[in-house]
Amino acid sequence: MGELSKRERMAMDRTPIGVRDPGERMGDFDEVSLGYTSGLAILEASRCLNCTRPVCIDGCPVGVRIDEFVKLVADGDIEGAAAVIQRDNVLPAVCGRVCPQESQCEGSCVLAKKGRPIAIGYLERFVADYERSHATRHDPVAVTRTGRRVAVVGSGPAGLACAGDLNRLGHAVTVFEALHELGGVLAYGIPAFRLPKDIVRAEIGRLEREGVAFETDVLIGSGMSLDDLMGPEGFDAVFVGTGAGLPRFPGIPGEDLIGVYSANEFLTRVNLMHAHDRSARTPVYDIADRPVVVIGGGNTAVDAARTSLRLGARTVTMLYRRSEAELPARLEEIDHAREEGVDMRFLVGPVSFNGEDGWLRSVTVQQMRLGEQDPDGRARPEPIPGATDVVDADVAIIAIGNAPNPILMRATPELQTTRRGTVSVDPITGATSMPGVFAGGDITTGGATVILALGAGRRAAVAIDAWLRGGEAGAVEPSFLLE
């Protein structure tokens, strides 16, 4: 394929990915997208124009050498491509599936202007999956151990990225996870039909083989404190990646009715506790043949809506207070949700949950119109006076975002926080107000994406390494940021 001219490459269409039929996939929690075959991956990679200045990398928060790996795929060297990606991304099979590529690498691709950017996400996913099933296991890279110990609090994306890099730099890393499964939001939040759990386990397993230690059932803050970690527990530095796991509620009448769930609870019951399995010990409301509404328009809302359909809901209606153009969810997920029958109502917000004998029966919604722009550039929804109606709902799932989990901060008054309750950090290094304690991911930004958390974890790893070697945390510039 290397013989194609630039003009020929520019004329090629984006190679579509296989997707299971909506009717079929509604009956299970298996993955919806099927991924590329080798042939399709090589075909897609061969469209790359090999830009002298690969702007796609600018769009990647962890700085994956996209130009290099795509070229290797085009040449058929998939294992070589995998090695390139793994240098910068500890969770490639995850990111290939859940990153909002349209606003990152693919959004930066020069071919995006023509509406057909290189399918970098699909290629990353293909390479990672291929490596997992084909590659001969490489022994962990031998690194000189420094004898320094780092505790990573939280096994979500930020913590995993930080742990992976610190381990490769020779430090002894222990990751503490409060839940019984590793992965944070990757385990409890994102459903299996979008991110199969064996993929999460495999990516974490790779870190384990490289030498990262993991301990589940440990919550830092309500028992062991940061001071305990840095003192009696013998760690030299701590990375806090505890995420934004505290569900927000709208604060309207009726939210304590039975049938009103936070998306976190609903998804945790299904993803982590397998409540959809008849033999499971953890229940979820029997929503078969019942009307369900989901409040919100982000990925979590779409995940909850699609999960509800798989549990047999009669109807699933997403209620979003802005218009379709502002929907924050990934485009692909929105398309998949619609194919599966999720109904989306725009410019509506809930004003009350209405019940009977303690059980939810309907939601009163307020119609909105778009007004002035917010400081973040999005149009602000404003209520249209008097315009309300009532939507039938036996279950309502609230997915309006999460606040930072406050446990650690409440136990650690010396850890400075922002007015929004996030941990205050140096934006580059992740250094907090406590010497030797760094933080990154949603605990510092509020709810964001997997890949931004990975980027923050990596930057903090560079800074922690420098700090452990006696440098100044503030003076470090991560190499992958220097372009």
Partner: protein
């Protein structure tokens, strides 16, 4: 070999009530009064909250008191010495406020006595005069009476059938104490109707009253919001903001309602389980 979360000893405290000594060194080292753990019996098990009624940091053990009420708690009653829990996560929740208040009354009903014991000990240890009021269905259901006696200056017992202490309810014993006007603080834990009644009794007196709540819970770390309770009109999470709240501000009716959410499921589960005899 003594693995993680091994059951070191089991003793019977009453009908379908066991006390388990569990190896959980991290919990034992860091737990404080009022805190709890989340356990799973098996890798496919349900997560349920249990109170730590005692801890021995040097032995690395914690004591859990469990009454069989649902499928998982009956599974725990089947555990014998040497068995293991799949998971013990903790300590969780905000610890009890412990300072010198003066004269305190600790009111506990049923297995709530296990939750109240560390609170009584901690308050007593801070120099307070502590009166314990223990309520039970019958003498057989009365647990930790001896431990409570050691932790308090005085212990009063009420049973519904009069087989131990006075026949009646905990409120019958609390009333005269309040009338004497010598109570500075009350702690209450037990069935919701009991906590509601105690809160209603102390409200007119203005005596600070703390209730330890028992809502349904999944993760226990603030992540799901399933344990939310209305306190003073605000939504609070029992797992991280509690489990102790100002009893005068708690909406007990809403708590009681929410706790029935999975009753049907639990009935089916009990029928499925090996320990179905108790439904």
């Amino acid at each position: 070999m003594d693995g993680r979360f091994t059951v070191r000893a089991v003793s019977s405290e009453g009908p379908d009530i066991h006390r388990l000594l569990v190896h959980a060194p991290r919990v034992a080292r860091y737990v404080r009064a009022g805190q709890f753990v989340i356990v799973r019996t098996t890798p496919d098990g349900e997560r349920i909250p249990l109170t730590v009624c005692e801890a021995d940091a040097s032995e690395g053990t914690i004591a859990l008191v469990v009454q069989g009420v649902g499928r998982t708690t009956f599974d725990i009653l089947e555990l014998v010495q040497g068995d293991q829990f799949a998971d013990v996560l903790g300590p969780l929740g905000s610890p009890t406020h412990v300072e010198y208040y003066g004269s305190c009354v600790v009111v506990a009903g049923g297995v709530g006595v296990a939750i109240a014991l560390p609170v009584a000990r901690a308050w007593h240890g801070a120099g307070n005069r502590v009166v314990g009021i223990l309520g039970a269905r019958s003498d057989a259901h009365l647990i930790l009476h001896h431990d409570f006696t050691k932790a308090c200056d005085r212990v009063m017992v009420t049973t519904e059938d009069g087989s131990a202490g006075e026949r009646g309810l905990v409120t019958d014993a609390l009333g005269p104490l309040l009338d004497e006007g010598l109570v500075d603080r009350v702690f209450v834990v037990g069935p919701i109707p009991m906590m509601r009644a105690v809160a209603a009794m102390t409200q007119p007196t203005g005596i600070a009253t703390i209730a330890s709540l028992n809502p349904l819970m999944v993760d226990g770390t603030g992540m799901c919001g399933g344990c939310r309770v209305a306190v003073g009109g605000e939504t609070r999470f029992a797992c991280i903001d509690g489990p102790e709240f100002d009893a005068h501000l708690v909406d007990f009716d809403a708590l009681e309602r929410r706790n029935t959410a999975y009753r049907e499921f639990e009935t089916c589960q009990a029928a499925l389980g090996g320990s179905a005899r108790h439904g």
